[in-house]
Amino acid sequence: MNRLMKGAEPFFFPGSSTGCLLVHGFTASPQEMRFLGGSLAAEGYTSLGIRLAGHGMTLKDMHRARWPDWLASVEDGYHMLQGICSHIAVIGFSQGGVLSLRLCAEAKVDALVTISTPYTLPPDPRLKLLRPILKPLSTLVPFLPKGTGGWVDPSLATERVAYDAYPLRSIVELDLLLADMRSHLHQVTAPILSIHSHRDDFVPPEHMSMIQSAVDSVEKRMAWVDESYHLIVCDVDRFLVLQHILSFLKEQVPDGS
């Protein structure tokens, strides 16, 4: 019996000696990064989109996962790419950006791209209130249904492969991961590009500069998009996001593609 949701498979497109490691977000799947991965491969780059542990299976499987499992999934992808590429760029979306930052605090990479990446949990007052009791609460109410919305072009939502709820227990893990990331940001020295939407209603736009000022990189770039909400890698701004990444990669790894 197969255990992965249809469409949630990780992907690998062989190409040049510069490899892009693509890390998807919380409760999503590699499908979220497929547009970027496929487009980067079309430009000549090698691209590998990992699946985070507990994702793309069932909600119960995610409920069981802990943040070091997610970090280990990212590190797996890094080591695989290392076997076939001499230059590595890590590209993470939302929680994937958090994990990418955490990886780059210890792993040598040529470029780092964080997209719609949070610095702390979203400033939802309900979340603030519930955070201290979230762990025990998650045994009673394991899953919180997601609302619809979040898309400028809802027709693009039909392709999405993701869970339709948030495991409460995993929100605790995300918070722990964020704390661990923040305490390691000063170790990040890789050239970094951050991309965020002015209209992001999930991760406040100011989180981008909070991350940028905490890292120790010499090369720091910020780029904005204006139309999409949080999901800028899949929604209408995805082409613009791709262009920002391509010009950053060309700058950091000349002859990379």
Partner: protein
């Protein structure tokens, strides 16, 4: 690894359009498949040695792993390797062999090599105690491992694995083995079984049990005499490497 301990890293060696997916065993790490992987890469194959979920990091991580995580890890590896190959052979050691046989029934692969693979969990007590294990494991987390039966002393020194069996994970191993048993009749591709008479973890008669249950007509068996259970790193490892290499070439001829 970079953040996690050394020896737990998966490995990827680029090569031709034939891929070898390598799967390590229960409480083991990709390291135990690395030499075999290097040999197969030198033969011109693309090689991916995966890390099973909960392995190669910290023993406590294995407490929360479930058999579906391991099956999913294998599926991950399959899909990644598929991106650069036309043919895939899955090779696994011990529980990795169980997963390889299971993959042979569930994924479109061309051949399976199962090394030191069990047909059922070696200890009858585990089979009978299965329903009680999750509860029992709350009080008795880790079962002591018996001494390694690796004959090669240098390999024993550098072996990377957890020092005990998390009891909760043993329950998952039992479930996985049962799932494999049910899927064996659906394995219709060529299978190579390699086993050592000196294996003290999985007795030799498991080879016959697997053979009888397989749906495949093309089953080859290679017997080793002096190795222990971890045959990919023991005194007859070169025979193992050669047998795998020959088998993959044969499978390719058959497939083309």
């Amino acid at each position: 690894m970079t953040i996690f301990p050394e020896g737990g890293e998966p490995f990827f060696f680029p090569g031709g359009r034939t891929g070898c997916l390598l799967i390590h065993g229960f409480t083991g790490a990709p390291n135990e498949m690395r030499l075999l992987g290097e040999h197969l890469a030198a033969c011109g194959f693309s090689v991916l040695g995966i890390r099973l979920s909960g392995h190669g990091t910290d023993m406590t991580d294995l407490l929360r792993a479930r058999e579906q995580d391991w099956v999913a890890s294998v599926e991950d590896g399959y899909h990644l390797l598929r991106g650069c190959t036309d043919h895939i052979v899955v090779l696994g050691l011990s529980m990795g062999g169980v997963l390889a046989l299971h993959a042979g029934a569930c994924l479109p692969v061309d051949g399976v090599v199962a090394m030191s693979a069990p047909y059922r969990t070696p200890h009858p007590l585990i089979q009978h105690m299965r329903p009680a294990l999750p509860l029992l494991s709350l009080f008795w987390r880790y079962a002591k491992k018996s001494d390694s039966d690796l004959v090669d002393e240098a390999a024993r020194e550098t072996h990377v694995d957890y020092e005990a069996h998390p009891l909760r994970a043993v329950a998952e191993l039992e479930d996985l083995v049962r799932e494999m048993q049910a899927s064996l009749p659906d394995v219709r591709i060529p299978v190579l079984l390699i086993h050592s008479r000196g294996d003290t973890t999985v007795p030799s008669d498991h080879v016959g049990l697997i053979t009888n249950a397989l749906g495949s007509k093309d089953i080859e068996t290679v017997w080793l005499q002096s190795s222990g259970h971890v045959i990919t790193r023991d005194v007859e490892q070169d025979r193992v490497f050669k047998a795998c290499e020959r088998f993959i070439h044969r499978v390719l001829e058959k497939a083309s």
